[in-house]
């Protein structure tokens, strides 16, 4: 436990600072503080899904820069299916399937054909932009509306925290559960040990009888499901419709979140909350009309945080050793 604290000291420190600031402001303006925090959680959710996809892929040794595309196309397909069938569940499942299919495509290009993983990921992004823009139709709506809000009984009555964490929509709850599930799978199960060894020294895994290709395929497809959930979250839970380019770079920020979280789901959650908080503060400032003449400067905040974090902390993080390298036996 104590080494967890040491490894994530920066994330923990950052969270503590934010908690402190929040409690301080909550003393004066509880409503706004709650709004900012709730918005931070909402903003962090797609990042969590994207970064969990990233961690599944990279821990097995495959770079996935196609998360942006996976989320975008999943958001689109999920929305179209939900719009056509009227079933949100069908939409979410369609989103997951889309992400999974794209994950399988990435695996095909980078594992079976041993192509360059960066190029394979770029292919996913370009394909997603193209397909979702081409088939996009204006004016479609969700007959059932967005996913419904679920309040977790007495927990929701807790001051500040209650409104933030315990009155949410289903995919948000799911993301909070998946953080722990992915952590457990990676660090406690046999599959996780295999994944990590394949991501570090694939030839070592192969010599003890683990199939590198099978591990990578499985993880890329599972990761694709997670990215698909992230896409479905955007169109079916956060917004309730699909817009062109609606991921707006979140898939790339998710990669930064993954790195800042040191390829660990729990670290990822902290990092995602930080980025979510930056976005929420940005929205709140725009809402209040700060720098109303030049809103671009306020809009920059999350991206500046992203750059500062990547430049400042990432040097110390160590990626899985075999990331980005195609593996062949001979």
């Amino acid at each position: 436990m104590s080494d967890l604290f040491i490894r994530f000291r920066w994330v923990i420190l950052t969270i503590l600072v934010f908690v402190f600031v929040t409690l301080f402001t909550a003393e004066f303006q509880q409503a706004q503080t709650t709004a900012v925090l709730a918005s931070a959680l909402r903003q962090s959710t797609p990042l969590v899904f994207g970064a969990l996809c990233g961690v599944m892929c990279e821990r097995s040794g495959v770079v996935n820069i196609g998360i942006e595309g996976q989320m975008l196309l999943s958001a689109f397909v999920g929305f179209m299916v939900a719009s056509a069938t009227g079933s949100l569940i069908a939409g979410i499942l369609a989103g997951m399937a889309t992400g999974a299919l794209m994950g399988a495509g990435l695996a095909g290009l980078s594992v079976t054909l041993q192509g360059d993983q960066i190029i394979a990921g770029t292919v996913l992004n370009i394909a997603a932009f193209g397909i979702s823009s081409y088939f996009f139709q204006q004016g479609l709506t969700l007959p059932s509306g967005k996913t419904p809000q679920v309040s977790l009984g007495p927990l929701a009555d807790l001051p500040v925290i209650g409104r933030v964490f315990f009155i949410n929509r289903p995919l948000t709850y799911l993301s909070l559960i998946l953080i722990w599930v992915v952590w457990f799978v990676l660090f406690r199960t046999r599959w996780g040990l295999w994944t990590r060894s394949v991501g570090e020294v694939p030839s070592a895994a192969e010599t003890v009888g683990i199939s590198v290709a099978r591990v990578r395929y499985t993880n890329l497809i599972a990761g694709g499901c997670l990215a698909g959930l992230g896409g479905a979250y955007l169109s079916l839970e956060a917004v309730g419709s699909f817009e062109r380019m609606m991921t707006n770079g979140r898939g790339f920020v998710a990669l930064a979140v993954m790195i800042f979280g040191r390829w660990n789901p729990i670290g990822i959650w902290g990092a995602a909350l930080l980025f979510g908080y930056a976005s929420a503060v940005q929205t709140q400032l725009q809402f209040r009309g700060w720098l109303a003449d030049d809103p671009q400067f306020i809009g920059m905040i999350p991206y500046v945080v992203c750059i500062v974090v990547l430049a400042g902390f990432v040097g110390r993080a160590r990626p899985p050793a075999a990331v980005g390298q195609p593996y062949s036996r001979e």
Partner: protein, 524 residues
């Protein structure tokens, strides 16, 4: 060839006829394996018996690794068969080999550095409880195994923090955890210090005594004679002989490996030392962690003599070499080259002033793998005439020099346009040696000059060292191979804990005494 080293196809070499004795633990019959145009294994027969240590001997590229990789399922034979306990088995991957209780310790360790010893050992066959990897159980198993086989290891340590010798034990434990019947070790001693080697050989002996069939690949004859029950020799993809240590000796084996008579003991004339060329005075140097690695050492090398520095690795040899060649700063003391102070000067200047250097790590410090043989041949002088003029390279001059050196040093293949990375270890080392010897230096600093290269090339490099010595060069030889130091040097200095604890003529020196000095810094 002595008559007891019969080729396998000779009728008298066939041992018990099929069906009389129990079938061998593993038998390879008529295996041929081709990589492109290269015939790596040609009609190879090989038998492994339970409870025996079987040495597979041969030069680099003789096909030993190919053969054991076929046995371990990493490669598939083009023709021929592998029989396990008399029955033909199909080995299509390591998984199949593991199922047949065949274990392998690879030359390049197949460990995951960021995982713990226990995790590495159980990887692929983990004890689980309700789907959760039971690391406590794994650690307990590793602890039990390591105690039973005398492999002192802490299951909780992270592999990357362990020295090479201990990492190798993790590999062995991994095989033992799978209860192997056959343990194959690919060049296990190439990376070990003499003590680690000694300990490994004991462990192998112990394993064989419990009934495991041990196969170990090597080209070090002393080890073979010390531990093997049986010896199979390969050359150019074929098995050229099979014998037992009692019927042979090191020089017979060397001749079989190389295919011609080899002089194991270097023929050499006494040195006729001249002026002091290199004088190291009260030299103090720090290591990478800024702790003192050399505590004020004094050492002279005169023209026309070889001074060998013997010692267990990590006693300051590396720092000594780096200080003399300018790769490492000097805290105090001086290094005098033919009357001139060179301590603290930049490496290129020291090289130009007349210090040649065969570095310990030829891949990292000696060569640029992605460049051609020709460019590597002039790495230390490409900026001088005639190789460049007014800052412009003159490839024709480089090629002429490289062609001459490739011929003189017998680099194979003799293609100066080949990328250095594609050469074998021995030929890479010849490129380094060719470049450094041809620079008309006063002093040669040769660090581990024959590490990881085969007998033919070792002999070649040793002869060159003596030839240049006779031509008046002062040679400082640093080697972890005691035999090399004793065989080549005129004077032997023993380094221990950053001090020279003894320096005396090599003539008539007591090998055991030098060994004791290396281990404890004291004689007795």
């Amino acid at each position: 060839m002595p008559d007891h080293l019969l080729p396998l196809d000779s009728p008298t070499a066939v041992s018990d006829p099929v069906g009389v004795a129990a079938p061998p633990a593993l038998e390879v019959r008529g295996v041929t394996k081709r990589f492109g145009d290269v015939l790596a294994n040609e009609d190879v027969d090989f038998r492994i018996e339970r409870g025996r240590v079987h040495a597979l001997l041969g030069e680099n590229g003789a096909g030993k690794s190919t053969l054991v990789n076929i046995i371990f399922g990493l490669y598939q034979a083009d023709t021929g068969e592998v029989r396990r306990n008399g029955e033909v088995v199909n080995l299509n991957g390591p998984r199949d080999a593991i199922a047949q209780q065949i274990g392998m310790v690879h030359q390049h360790f197949q460990l995951v550095p960021v995982l713990s010893v226990a995790e590495n050992v159980v990887l692929g066959d983990e004890p689980t409880r309700h789907g959760v990897v039971d690391l406590g159980e794994a650690a307990a198993v590793v602890q039990r195994l390591s105690e039973r086989f005398g492999l002192d290891i802490d299951p909780q340590s992270i592999v990357e923090d362990l020295p090479i010798g201990i990492q190798q034990r993790v590999e062995i434990l991994r095989a033992l955890y799978r209860e192997v019947d056959i343990l194959i070790l690919d060049e296990p001693t190439a990376v070990l210090t003499p003590q680690e080697t000694g300990h490994l050989l004991e462990v192998l002996r112990g394993l064989a005594d419990t009934g495991v069939a041990v196969v170990f690949i090597t080209h070090k004859l002393r080890e073979v004679m010390a531990v093997a029950d049986e010896i199979t020799v390969m050359r150019r993809g074929r098995v050229v002989g099979h014998t037992v240590p009692a019927d042979t000796d090191e020089s017979d084996l060397a001749s079989m490996m190389v295919g011609r008579p080899v002089e194991l003991r270097l023929k050499r004339t006494p040195a006729s030392p001249g002026d002091k060329m290199l004088a190291i005075v009260d030299l103090v140097v720090n290591d990478d962690r800024q702790t003192q690695a050399l505590n004020g050492i004094n050492l002279d090398v005169r023209a026309g003599e070889v001074v060998g520095v013997a010692g267990v690795e990590g006693n300051g040899q590396r720092e000594l070499v780096e200080a003399v060649t300018g790769l490492r700063g000097v805290i105090s003391g001086s290094i005098i080259l033919d009357g001139e102070e060179i301590a603290g000067r930049p490496p290129r200047q020291i090289s130009t002033m007349g210090v040649a250097h065969i570095p310990e790590d030829r891949e990292k410090l000696g060569l640029i793998g992605a460049h051609t043989v020709a460019d590597n041949m002039v790495l230390n002088r490409y900026h001088h005439r005639p190789y460049s003029r007014h800052g412009i390279r003159r490839p024709a001059a480089v090629d002429d020099e490289a062609t001459r050196l490739v011929e003189e040093f017998d680099v194979r293949p003799p293609n100066i346009a080949a990328m250095v990375a594609t050469l074998s270890g021995g030929n890479k080392q010849k490129v380094v040696a060719a470049r450094e010897f041809s620079h008309e230096s006063k002093v040669m600093v040769a660090a581990q000059p024959t590490r990881g290269i085969d007998i033919g090339n070792i002999e070649f490099i040793h002869r060159r060292l003596i030839e240049y010595r006779d031509a008046g060069m002062a040679i400082l030889l640093v080697s972890a191979e005691l035999d090399e130091v004793l065989g080549v040097s005129d004077r032997v200095a023993v380094i221990y804990g950053g001090r020279i604890v003894s320096c005396e003529p090599a003539e008539g020196i007591d090998r055991d005494r030098v060994g004791r000095l290396m281990l404890s810094g004291a004689d007795g």
